[in-house]
């Protein structure tokens, strides 16, 4: 599904290299986790994959189902099935959550040549999915993320993910700022979406989330590269011993 090969990325404005030859492959239906110290480049990876401006790919490639991702506009990547749950979801005053979501859903459907959802169809679906995430109808009407608590913002990201049904979901520290209940809701939301033709790349600091969303593979990232990959046990090892040994080993 997602293939990243020897990816080198620097900041466009500065001479700062952030990703330094990162390679990774997430096959269809699998959940991969990326863990790593702050500043390793995890968020940068998620932004580069989803097409944010400000980065320059100097070497390497990334593809989704064999299609080169890096030349596509962000909205084209989205329609191709890529989704990023933001570490810091953006507030957009004056734009209703529902209006935004419906526009996004239908824009993607249109781009893929599918029929757009009618207002009624959309409403029915969004209400059902919102209820599962305990997102109130009132929250749906509010402007995008405005006045939402940290946990509400993250649940709203998962709602968007559920509505857009992407094939490749990248989640950037979706667990940060969540209390136990919110963590459970978010994890249940994600687990409900797991399927043989959908993959996840879950970026997290903590093993905790991986108790709920069981990964197939765990990657440790440091200084712009994957330094070690392994099974779920690798996350436990990090939890107990920290990154110190792994980093030393990599050097």
């Amino acid at each position: 599904m997602l293939k990243i090969n020897n990816l080198h990325v620097k900041l466009e404005e500065e001479d700062k290299q952030i990703l330094k030859g990162l390679s990774l492959e997430v096959p269809a239906g699998e959940v991969h986790a990326i863990m790593g110290p702050n500043g390793s480049g995890k968020s940068t990876l998620s932004y580069v994959l989803s097409g944010r401006d400000g980065y320059e790919v100097t070497e390497g490639e990334a593809s989704l189902d064999g299609e080169d991702l890096l030349d596509m506009d962000p909205e084209v990547r989205a329609a191709a099935g890529l989704f990023l749950a933001f570490q810091y979801p953006v507030e957009i005053p004056g734009v209703g959550n529902m209006t935004f979501l419906r526009t996004a859903v239908n824009a993607q459907r249109k781009a893929r040549g599918e029929a757009e959802l009618t207002a009624g169809e959309f409403l029915k679906e969004v209400r059902a999915k919102a209820a599962e995430l305990q997102i109130s109808p009132e929250m749906l009407k509010r402007p995008v993320n405005v006045g939402f608590s940290g946990g509400e913002k993250k649940r709203n990201e998962i709602l968007q993910m559920a509505m857009l049904s992407p094939r490749m979901c990248i989640m950037d520290e979706t667990d940060s700022g969540l209390d136990v209940d919110a963590m459970r809701l978010v994890s249940e939301g994600v687990n409900a979406l797991r399927s043989p033709d959908r993959s996840f790349l879950v970026i997290t600091h903590y093993q905790r989330l991986l108790d709920h969303i069981k990964p197939d593979v765990v990657h440790i990232m440091s200084n712009g590269r994957i330094i070690k990959s392994g099974g779920p046990d690798l996350a436990l090892e990090v939890e107990h011993n920290g990154y110190g040994d792994l980093l030393a080993e990599a050097d």
């Binding site: 401006d53 909205e75 990547r77 989205a78 004056g94 734009v95 526009t103 824009a107 968007q160």
Partner: protein, 447 residues
């Protein structure tokens, strides 16, 4: 500054009597106007004409006209502007049962209008009242305009009072069941439309006034509003100028104790527009909100939009808000001059002013002059002015969800304008304006 020579004061501030060139420019301007047959308003008109002759037309170097070149308003005639009489009208406020009154090139069109009778409200026209002689509005016609001439001169307002042929004279005594909607239409290509409305809302009464449509090649419209204690006026003007027109407008208001004035203007395109407001809060606990959402695209020809507002707090516990938002692109210019004056004794005043521009490219500009002048010690006043570009982070967020670039820009423009639209209290009307804006933005180059 190109001119370094120190000039005697009477040359810097042109006095018509002492400046033959300016005087003849004004006389040329007046010569192009057909004077109305004044009845009840004759005295006010003569007074306004004398004031106009004393102050003269504004010069580009006048402080109050620093950001906007007055020459297109000073010219004797506007340039002719072709228009499509059948096509271009796009009805607004369609959802609402309303009393629609049509003005063509500034003159009331009785045949095209609804019947003037509506419970709780008396409506007549300026032309009819002038023909009939006496009228209740004699105490008001030109009087609020006169009061608004201090401390800044507004020559085109005096001109309006002196020469307006027509307008509405509205007295509200109750709570009419529906809004009054003034629909402006164009009749001839080179119309120099001048109209003058007077509205008196009596104690405890209230009304909603809607304005929409297209006005002449050049226009000069005025609204004099007198709100008695506890009276309310909701005013929503949607000025659409698909063609490159030149227009100016004034609103003069006197707001009594516990009275409320809420005025919102939507302006889309045009060539040169200047909207002046002079609001006098004379009673305790008065409320005045003046807001505008402006979209200007220089691609359809030069765009220059000026909002100049002066709010005076003359009593206690007044609340005023000025909320001005301008979206500018392709070399468009936005201007905001806004002032809050708090007079001695106007304690517990709550004055707020925000003016913001969203520049969609680097060729556009926003010129703002926010001012506070406060002579009372126990007040809360704030003002802010910002100029910014599209928020890249929000743009990426929207696009990452699959929203195409153009559509994402529409969302962010609406987001930027939201604070101004909030000033439209009526949710249904607000939604309609928002939808209309969205449609305009989506079907560019129409915006």
């Amino acid at each position: 500054m190109s001119d370094t020579a120190v000039k005697p004061i009477n040359e810097v501030t042109p006095q018509v009597s002492g400046n033959p060139k300016a005087a003849s420019a004004l006389e040329d301007r007046l010569a192009a106007i057909t004077m109305p047959d004044a009845g009840f308003s004759a005295e006010a008109r003569a007074d306004a004409m004398a004031r106009l002759r004393a102050m003269g037309l504004p010069a580009p170097r006048d402080e109050y006209w620093r950001y906007t070149d007055p020459r297109a308003f000073n010219a004797p005639r506007p340039a002719a502007l072709p228009f499509d009489a059948d096509g271009a009208e796009s009805p607004l406020f369609t959802e609402r049962d309303k009393l629609t009154l049509v003005f063509v090139d500034g003159a009331f069109d009785e045949a095209a209008s609804d019947d003037l009778s509506l419970e709780g409200i008396e409506i007549t026209t300026l032309a009819k009242a002038d023909a009939a002689g006496d009228h209740w509005s004699a105490d008001l016609y030109g009087q609020l305009e006169l009061a608004g001439q201090t401390p800044v001169k507004r020559p085109f307002a005096a001109l309006n009072t002196a020469v307006a042929h027509d307008g509405l004279l509205i007295r509200v005594t109750g709570k009419p069941s529906k809004p009054v909607h003034v629909l402006y239409r164009r009749g001839t290509e080179d119309a120099d439309a001048v109209w003058h409305h007077v509205i008196r809302v009596e104690t405890g009464a209230e009304m909603t006034l809607l304005e929409s449509g297209m006005v002449g090649a050049r226009s000069n419209g005025m609204l004099e509003v007198d709100l008695a204690d506890g009276a309310k006026l909701h005013h929503i003007a949607a000025k659409r100028a698909v063609d490159p027109k030149v227009g100016l407008s004034h609103i003069f208001a006197r707001v009594g104790a516990e009275a409320q004035l809420k005025s919102f203007t939507l302006a889309v395109n045009g060539t040169l527009m200047r909207n002046e407001g002079a609001i006098d809060m004379v009673g305790d606990d008065a409320v005045a909100h003046i807001a505008a959402a402006v979209l200007g695209d220089g691609d359809n020809g030069p765009f220059h939009h000026d909002d100049t507002v002066f709010i005076t707090h003359g009593a206690e516990r007044g609340e005023s808000r000025q909320v001005f938002k301008k979206v500018l692109k392709n070399g468009a210019t936005g201007v905001f001059q806004g002032k809050i004056l708090v007079k001695p004794g106007a304690q517990k005043t709550d004055g707020y002013q925000i003016s913001q521009a969203l520049l969609l490219d680097e060729n556009s500009q926003f010129l703002a002059k926010p001012e506070l002048e406060i002579y009372a010690d126990d007040v809360k006043c704030s003002h802010g002015s910002t100029t910014g570009a599209i928020d890249e982070e929000a743009l990426f967020y929207l696009r990452s969800r699959g929203v195409p670039y153009d559509r994402a820009i529409v969302f962010l423009v609406l987001s930027f304008l939201a604070d101004a639209l909030t000033e439209v209290e009526d949710e249904e009307l607000r939604d309609e304006i928002n939808d209309r804006l969205e449609a305009w933005l989506t079907t560019r180059p129409q915006i």
